[in-house]
Symmetry: C2
Subunit: 432 residues, 2 copies
């Protein structure tokens, strides 16, 4: 299969396998240099990129206009067109995002736990980049900058594949990235944006085990599922955000109400919003009327188990089995009355998605047990699930949230894009 | 396909898929309980297992005798028979190993980095088990106890698949494990040893993504390659141990000699022994004669680059390209004279296996640069690569050495068998 690769400097037709292989080799070479680049150089590159974006706003917006026009002609939905749009405010946000990344501590080279062993050697760990990171995302062109920035700061080369509808915007942004890298004296292939809309490029990318160390898909469930099932390279991902708040019978009423409401209604389309509210039977009589009123006031559609429905059959529809495993991403909430915390934990571990779950309780022992037993990437006590976020956790920025257990778990920031190697310091030590 | 499953309690014929699926489900259920078992209970189980092994020595040795007899009849090599043998000393070592695991701190539930955020929530990390670990190993039956003990202590259920030639020994050991678990009140399926020699069981195991969280192969390269290529479950592995010592031109001669000799000759068949010695051109004249003498005194066969051969063409044969990428696991050493550290680092990153590499130098800046740039799981300064070992690093015990970057890297001990989840403590906090 042949594709036309178009950019400012060259225009030629190459085989897609060759094209991707070349991207991989260039990324690997760039990663070798970037892995031990000094913080000053990486920060200079990030600031250069920010300046270039500021300087070339006009061009970025006009290229984005080409994408928007094509999107409209192709009949893209309004929501999709909104994600595609690069307004002045969003360009400002891209620039601010880069400056924030500059302000974060450089994780690479950090040495920890350096301790003397009985043999006399000193053993510790040094934080190192992963190498080459492949990122596959959808329509938002600003992800190009987020992803490039985080990978660069963490010393990783990146190969970025954005949505086909954003290709002109992404290429315009990419030229600013290249310029910033070159000005800082870094290889321009530290970041590469795939310049073809051919889906074959993704299939190829997911098999490049020799040149890509980890793949991060960012987008809807179908994208992530496809990537996870096809990739032979390790994937950092989360599929669903089926989050819960459990109101224990020893909960403070005010906290229970505030947290349940905030966790559902702060924003509906985000992965850390709850889909199911679990209420202990013994407190249900006391809190359900207020909960029902608060949610119906906010126009949240309620679906409940038979016990929940009994509180207000007019306000709560009967939930079916599927409701307990559905990420609505919408103003819909399922409510289940449980006998006790034991039943709540079992429900969460069985129906949840290991994302974020919170208990509201004043009971010390139950709080401890809930924290231990709930098998999710974030487990909370008396706090809203809306806090599950890289910025709120102090990671500075996040590239995604991982619900897997190996390597990164929870919000993935700069640390999640690194690994650690052992270092051993001796003074001529040999092992007897 | 049908197989006969034989054990003391039941004897029946089942489908291998069904059999493995049952093992998986039982492991998952056991893992749920084990994941929050108290340290006292896990330690009691480990000590019970140790007692049971001590008590049933006679039986273990007689079952091992059955395996040894079958091995001899099948014409197994002497080295293989030696690995298979369970002597009294090795049984003692198994018991001691369990007691050492008891003495290690329990990693599960450990909370770290718990810090207040500007929003008022407190965010930290809690260490948690991975879940179910599948371990595939070869002829040594004592691995059954090492693996079961480390998985148990780290709160993970395990499914163990030993070598077919050790099946009677493994089953005899396993009965002690079951007894110890039951006495401690833990589910007996916390540890399961596959009771069939059918290779199909391994193929099946490697696809059980729903019930197994991570696979650890322990054994020769062909086993590990097969597991890595067939498994759809994440694998913690190392393939080769192509380790290097680089003698910098600012090395102390004595340290250089001691370290090079120890790193090669302490033991030949281990992964942390060096295969290639790199010597800076400027120091070669001064150290090569001593090195050649020391190695030839130890009957180590030397193969060198043209510059190395020139020092003693009688003692050093010409190395070919393959020599730089071969794990000899034998008294053979390749020697290359390099221009400088730059060339040494490039050689190591290109030809090494990211296992363990050491520089001998008195130069501060070069030591720092070597530590940063060598992309291996252990990087050392003035210390023998023989130190790359879980016990030497203070991990207490190791289940293997990982040369991958994701998740565990270097010697994998209890920590490597766990993950971390975020915990958030609030006091009714909601996100604005």
């Amino acid at each position: 299969m042949s594709i036309a690769i178009k950019n400012d400097f060259e225009s030629h037709t190459v085989d897609i396998k060759q094209y991707m292989a070349q991207l991989g080799q260039r990324a690997r070479q760039a990663a070798d240099v970037l892995s031990y680049a000094n913080p000053e150089i990486k920060n200079a590159a990030l600031l250069n990129i920010a300046s270039a974006i500021d300087k070339h706003r006009g061009r970025i917006r006009s290229e984005n206009g080409v994408d928007m026009q094509a999107g409209k002609s192709a009949g893209l939905e309004e929501a999709m067109l909104d994600r595609l749009l690069l307004s002045e405010v969003r360009i400002d946000a891209m620039i601010d995002g880069l400056k924030q990344i500059v302000s974060l501590a450089d994780p690479v080279g950090e040495i920890s736990e350096l301790a003397y062993r009985p043999s006399g050697i000193q053993v510790g760990k040094m934080r190192v980049p992963l190498g080459v990171i492949g990122i596959i995302y959808e329509s938002r062109p600003n992800v190009t900058i987020d992803a490039a920035g985080l990978c660069l700061k963490s010393g990783n080369a990146s190969i970025l594949r954005g949505g086909k509808e954003a290709i002109h915007s992404n290429q315009a942004i990419y030229r600013c990235v290249q310029q910033g890298l070159k000005q800082a004296g870094l290889p321009e292939f530290c970041v590469q944006v795939i310049n073809t809309v051919d889906r074959e490029a993704v299939a190829e990318m997911l098999k490049m085990n020799e040149t890509i160390d980890v793949i991060i898909p960012r987008g809807g469930k179908s994208l992530i599922e496809r990537v996870a099932s096809e990739s032979t390279i390790p994937v950092i991902k989360h599929l669903d955000g089926i989050c819960h708040v459990y109101i224990d019978d020893r909960a403070d009423h005010r906290k229970a109400l505030d947290i349940a409401l905030n966790a559902k209604t702060r924003r509906y389309g985000v992965c850390n919003a709850i889909e199911t509210l679990l209420v202990a039977d013994q407190i249900a009589q006391a809190v359900m009327p207020d909960l029902i009123k608060a949610f119906t006031d906010k126009q949240v559609e309620l679906r409940g188990c038979p016990r929940a429905c009994r509180f207000d059959p007019a306000a709560i529809a009967a939930a079916d089995d599927e409701d307990w495993e559905t990420e609505y991403l919408a103003p819909i909430l399922s409510i289940k009355i449980v006998d006790d915390m034991e039943q709540a934990i079992v429900h969460i571990n069985q129906h949840g998605s290991n994302h974020t779950d919170s208990i509201v309780t004043e009971d010390y022992t139950r709080a401890r047990e809930f924290l231990r037993r709930v098998d999710s990437s974030s487990v909370m006590v008396n706090a809203s699930t809306a806090f599950a976020d890289g910025f709120e956790y102090g990671l500075g920025a996040e590239i995604g949230i991982s619900t897997d257990k190996l390597h990164a778990r929870g919000p993935v920031g700069l640390m999640g894009l690194t690994s650690q190697k052992y270092i051993v310091l001796g003074d001529g030590h040999i092992r007897h």
